[in-house]
């Protein structure tokens, strides 16, 4: 194989090449394909409507300890259910590549935290995050306290929740903050 043209149309390639070389693109595609060989056809020129069900991703052994696996899949999948199309799959890497602008990263990070999709990080979101991170080792009181502190720290408009602006401001304030938020493909 190795010839991407057999897989993608040139337009598709252009669209995907946000932060990737064509070669990487192909590499990702094969990965995508390998995740579910029976579902994903090798010929993508006809834009087949294929989705990788979340169960496949969520059951990967490497991910079994990862508290955010489901959330990641949900955020990056178009249907919000964690079922990822190839586009979703590639978008995910685009957003996390070194080339992606900081705002985009911040946006996705925000989305990941925003569990209830109301465009604000509210207390319940923070509590979820915390519990995921600590594997429920904290008590309610502690969680509450931490959440209050977090909101206290970065809630600029005092509405008791964090908007995207609050979040971005927080990130700008700490320049190195997002420096690690990228992967190399």
């Amino acid at each position: 194989m190795g010839n991407k043209q057999t897989i993608f149309t040139p337009q598709q390639l252009d669209a995907y090449q946000v932060g990737h070389s064509a070669r990487r693109e192909a590499g990702l595609f094969y990965r995508y394909h390998n995740l579910a060989p029976q579902l994903v056809p090798l010929d993508y020129t006809s834009k087949p409507d294929v989705k990788l069900p979340y169960e496949l991703i969520g059951s990967m052994p490497e991910l079994k300890d990862n508290p955010f696996r489901q959330r990641i899949a949900q955020v990056f999948s178009e249907d919000g259910e964690g079922n990822m199309t190839l586009d979703d799959f590639l978008d995910m890497f685009s957003a996390l590549s070194e080339m992606a602008p900081r705002d985009l990263k911040a946006y996705y990070a925000f989305k990941i935290y925003d569990f209830n999709d109301d465009d604000y990080i509210c207390k319940s979101d923070l509590e979820k995050t915390l519990n995921k991170l600590t594997r429920n080792e904290l008590t309610e009181d502690e969680v509450r306290m931490v959440c209050e502190k977090v909101i206290d720290e970065s809630d600029l408009d005092n509405d008791g929740r964090l908007s995207l602006e609050d979040f971005q401001h927080m990130i700008v304030r700490a320049p190195d903050f997002l420096s690690t938020f990228h992967i190399r493909i």
């Binding site: 991910l63 990862n66 977090v150 190195d176 997002l178």
Partner: protein
């Protein structure tokens, strides 16, 4: 000027004793030695009259300086003349003390100079200390020169490399912020390797070109190889200078770590280039074969990798050794200094990169060593390292200044000097820009123009270059004197001019400074979260990226390394506790200092992400508590207690409590308690603090009571299981644990199963010690006095701070109060009775108690039982009570009324209103009962947990004493 006098004296004496030159020579090495604090060596000079020889020889080997040969003979002759005469009442034993004396004087001069500099704040804020030190050195050098016509002192390469440099590098490596370092490792490596190579070759070739063009004087003899050699040694950014200047500038962390990391890691490049070119110069450029170039490349790899490996090997060794220093805490710091220093020397021994070796040894061992050694050792290490590094740095700069005043070594060539200055500056800037351009392709947060300016401008040269150039063999490198002069000028220019102007420049350019603020909670959380997210995404993609490897590394570290290198008691979750401890300390300090919110666990490296996060939060909790409550006490233990209470509460509400938290803490404390016990002074304070906390909890007791009722069910079920000793063993792991420690109590002992014991053997010593129940006696005596104070304090603090934890508080209190009595009254059964949930809470509470004092811990277990009994009885009625108490009548009563009922009832009421009073009374009954017999006690305890708690509070006082007393009393 004042300082000069001793020096002059010294010189004069030296002249009298022997020939001037010899003395000086011998003095030099020693002086340097003194600076080389790594205690190892300092002892030897003082002990033996001939230390100079050793050092001089070392100097020769390394430095190959001609001077070095003299000192040996000279000193000998000097000694001979002194000891030759008859008996004298007072003898002038100068030659005997000469070496250490001069060393000490030099250090004194350097230190006093620092003090003087800092008298004027205006001066030090504008002028970097390094500049002032160099100036002072120039002055001193001038005075010495005038006085003796010759320059007696100089920065001797051997001493510099063997003693002065290691102290600075060791400090830097050991305290290197490892996460920051490794996050930027790629960038650092590029700058260190590519950048240094670029600088070296460009400077070398350009200078050679200038030479050919005639701009550099003919007198400067040298071919291409000589200039390349010079380029190699002048191109390396110097860690000492960078540290000295950048620490005052406070640029942001990333920038600092890049420049500083580069200066450390470029050592390997410099060493190799230097050696390669020296050998080329010796052989002659014509005789260099192509194979030699490849050898050069090979040696570069070996020097690099070898140095790193040596460092890591010693890091493992060091971590492993500190695992077993439990009984010899006092020499823990020594091991650290010795092994880190040995890593340096070993690398030097094999002519590997010593700086790399030491740096990686420090980075590698830090985590494990910090976990293994005691808090005091940690402080000692920190202070000693900083002190040594500071002194070494001071001496280096002073000697740089002094060395400059030496006519014999100077050979000035304006062309060479100015060309060198221009070239190193230009090429540094070009190199930085070029590399940054490439690197920015790979960095998410690119290095912007300002960063590049600072980086190019921060390319300071320093003592390493000087030492290297002095090491040159004047016979083989004809232009050595010119090179020396040029190097000195370059160093002075970079350190003084650039060092002086970099601060205004940074201000003017508005380069983002490092904010002193600790990472916010947001950052804490998000950093962790990002790690997880990225690891997940990489996993999905099947990539083995940076995060993947870091994940893997953390796994490996957790599964193997930590087990191997960390003390057993620590590694189980001990790291958590270490971190927790650290955070608490920092919190306490910062809270007191500024009353602000401080959360800084970022620098602490924890093996497991989750745990780390959870801990940072705990910290917050602690903070929270501190802010609202007792801001006065700095003691670790106090803090722990508070948090412990929190944890307990949480546990009760949430059964989620991890056994981990509980266990580690207990262990940790256990091993810690020793120290505490040894410390007599703190006991009192601890006691008071403890009491305060306890009382606050008591106050909140009311609320707890309600909760207690809800638990009856569980208690019942457990009771059934545990009805008899035999049944006990059947109990699940958790209950057993409790039992095991409770076993420590004299009474309960039989309950423990062998397995449990074996597991906890290590801890047992301490635990057992804790057992005691001796407190009661103390309570009687001491509580009376102390209570009033504590009550006062508690009244406001407790309410505000710890309202939620009533149940926990109860538990604690009972333990303490029961501590003495409990063992007797409570049978093994009681332990069984306690519901699992409660047990956890107890454990936690116990651990918190332990923090205060070891004894409380043991006492606590008993208390839980008591409580359990009381509850169980209440629920069940007479059955459980009877079995538990082992025949005591009162136990049967659901209400647990005892002979002391009256008092108890009072105490209950009092608790709410007057904790003091209640505490006083309860303790007494338990003692009586204990002495009399098992049966009575259980009932008393059952009645009012609060009462017991109070008694505990009063009794709880410091652990160490109670232990010893307890047994005897009983």
């Amino acid at each position: 000027m004042l300082f000069v006098t001793p020096l002059l004296l010294v010189t004069a004496v030296g002249v009298a004793a022997a020939d001037l030159y010899g003395t000086e020579a011998s003095v030099r090495p020693e002086t340097a030695v003194s600076a080389a604090p790594p205690a190892t060596l300092s002892a030897s000079p003082a002990a033996s009259p001939y230390p100079p020889e050793e050092y001089a020889e070392a100097g020769i080997a390394l430095a190959r300086s001609a001077d070095a040969h003299d000192p040996v003979e000279t000193t000998d002759s000097g000694d001979a003349s002194h000891h030759g005469g008859g008996y004298k009442i007072v003898q002038w034993e100068w030659s005997y003390v000469q070496t250490p004396y001069i060393i000490a004087i030099w250090i004194l001069v350097a230190s006093v100079a620092k003090i003087l500099f800092h008298f004027s704040q205006r001066v030090t804020t504008v002028v970097p200390e390094s500049c002032l030190l160099i100036l002072l050195g120039l002055v001193l050098g001038g005075v010495v020169l005038i006085a003796s016509k010759k320059q007696l002192y100089q920065l001797e390469p051997g001493l510099f490399f063997l003693f002065l440099l290691p102290t600075i590098v060791g400090d830097a490596g050991y305290f290197m912020p490892s996460r920051l370092f490794f996050d930027n490792l790629g960038t650092i490596l590029v700058y260190a390797v590519v950048g240094t190579l670029w600088n070296a070759f460009c400077t070398g070739f350009s200078l050679y070109g200038m030479k050919l063009a005639g701009i550099i004087d003919e007198k400067v003899e040298g071919g291409m190889m000589e200039f390349l050699l010079f380029g190699a040694l002048i191109s390396a950014v110097d860690p000492v200078a960078v540290l000295a200047v950048f620490e005052e500038v406070h640029v942001n962390e990333t920038l600092f770590i890049i420049v500083f990391g580069e200066s450390l890691l470029n050592d390997a490049v410099t060493v190799v280039l230097y050696k390669v070119f020296i050998s080329f110069v010796e052989v002659g450029p014509g005789n260099v074969q192509t194979a030699d170039y490849f050898k050069g490349v090979a040696s570069f790899l070996i020097v690099n990798v070898g140095g790193t490996l040596v460092g890591l090997i010693f890091a493992v060794l060091l971590a492993f050794v500190t695992r077993f220093t439990k009984r010899v805490r006092i020499i823990e710091p020594l091991f650290i200094f010795l092994l880190v220093y040995l890593a340096y020397l070993t690398a030097e021994l094999f002519s590997l990169s010593a700086i790399l070796s030491m740096t990686f040894c420090g980075i590698g061992c830090n985590k494990y060593v910090e976990a293994n050694i005691s808090q005091k050792s940690r402080t000692t290490v920190k202070y000693t390292m900083k002190t040594l590094a500071s002194i070494a740095e001071t001496i280096i700069f002073i000697f740089l200044g002094i060395s400059a005043v030496d006519k014999s070594k100077w050979a000035w060539d304006t062309g060479l000097v100015s060309c060198t200055l221009i070239f190193i500056f230009v090429f540094r800037a070009l190199g930085v820009i070029g590399q940054t351009w490439v690197l920015n392709w790979f960095r998410l947060v690119p290095l912007d123009k300002l960063d590049q300016v600072v980086m190019s401008y921060g390319g300071l040269r320093g003592a390493v270059a000087f030492a290297l150039v002095v090491l040159l063999d004047g016979h083989k490198v004809k232009a050595k004197d010119y090179f020396v002069a040029t190097t000195i000028v370059v160093i002075f220019f970079t350190v003084m001019f650039q060092g002086l102007t970099i601060k205004p420049l940074v201000k003017w350019l508005k380069v983002p400074r490092s904010t002193n603020s600790k990472p916010t909670i947001n950052e804490e959380i998000h950093e962790r979260a990002f790690d997880h997210i990225l690891a997940a995404v990489e996993d999905i993609a099947g990539l083995n990226g940076y995060h993947h490897w870091r994940d893997k590394w953390e796994q490996f570290d957790k599964n193997y390394l930590s087990k191997l290198l960390m003390r057993k008691s620590v590694y189980h979750k001990g790291e958590l506790w270490e971190v927790y401890q650290k955070i608490n300390i920092r919190d306490a300090i910062s809270v007191i200092d500024q009353g602000g919110n401080v959360l800084s666990s970022a620098r602490l490296s924890l093996p497991s992400m989750a745990s780390r996060t959870s801990f940072s939060e705990v910290t917050n909790v602690t903070n929270y508590l501190r802010e609202n409550g007792s801001g006065v006490c700095l003691d670790l233990q106090v803090i722990d207690t508070v948090s412990g209470g929190k944890v307990e509460e949480e546990t009760e509400t949430h059964h989620l409590l991890t056994g981990n938290l509980y266990k580690p803490r207990r262990r940790y404390h256990a091993h810690y308690s020793r120290h505490f016990m040894t410390v007599g002074d703190k006991e009192r304070q601890d006691r008071e603090v403890f009491q305060r906390n306890m009382r606050s909890r008591l106050e909140s007791f009311k609320s707890t009571r309600h909760k207690a009722k809800g638990r009856h069910k569980k208690e019942r079920s457990q009771k059934k299981r545990k009805g008899s000793d035999a049944k006990e063993q059947e109990v699940n792991g958790k209950p057993r644990r409790n039992v095991s420690w409770q076993d420590t109590d004299p009474v309960t002992a039989p309950v423990d199963s062998p397995e449990e014991r074996s597991e906890e053997e290590a801890d047992k010593d301490e635990d057992v010690g804790i057992t005691f129940v001796a407190r009661k006696h103390e309570t009687l005596k001491e509580p009376l006095k102390e209570r009033p104070k504590s009550d006062m304090l508690e009244v406001y603090q407790s309410l505000a701070v710890i309202p939620p934890s009533p149940t926990c508080a109860e538990k604690h209190l009972p333990w303490k109060g029961g501590g003495g009595t409990l063992p007797v009254c409570v049978s093994m059964e009681t332990t069984k009775i306690i519901p699992i949930d409660l047990q956890q809470a107890w454990n936690q509470s116990i651990s918190s108690l332990e923090s205060l004092a070891s004894p409380p811990v043991q006492a606590e277990p008993q208390h839980p039982r008591v409580r359990a009994l009381s509850r169980a009885e209440a629920a069940r009625g007479g059955n459980s009570g009877g079995s538990d108490s082992g025949g005591s009548g009162p136990a049967q009563d659901p209400r647990f009324h005892f002979p002391n009922d009256e008092e108890n009832g009072q105490s209950l009421q009092q608790q709410e209103s007057q904790p003091l009073m209640s505490s006083m009374k309860p303790p007494a009954p338990p003692q009586v009962s204990s002495t009399q017999g098992m049966g009575r006690r259980p009932p008393t305890f059952n009645r009012n947990p609060c009462v017991y708690l109070r008694s505990l509070v009063s009794a709880s006082p410091p652990g160490s004493e109670p232990r010893s007393r307890g047994p005897t009393q009983l």
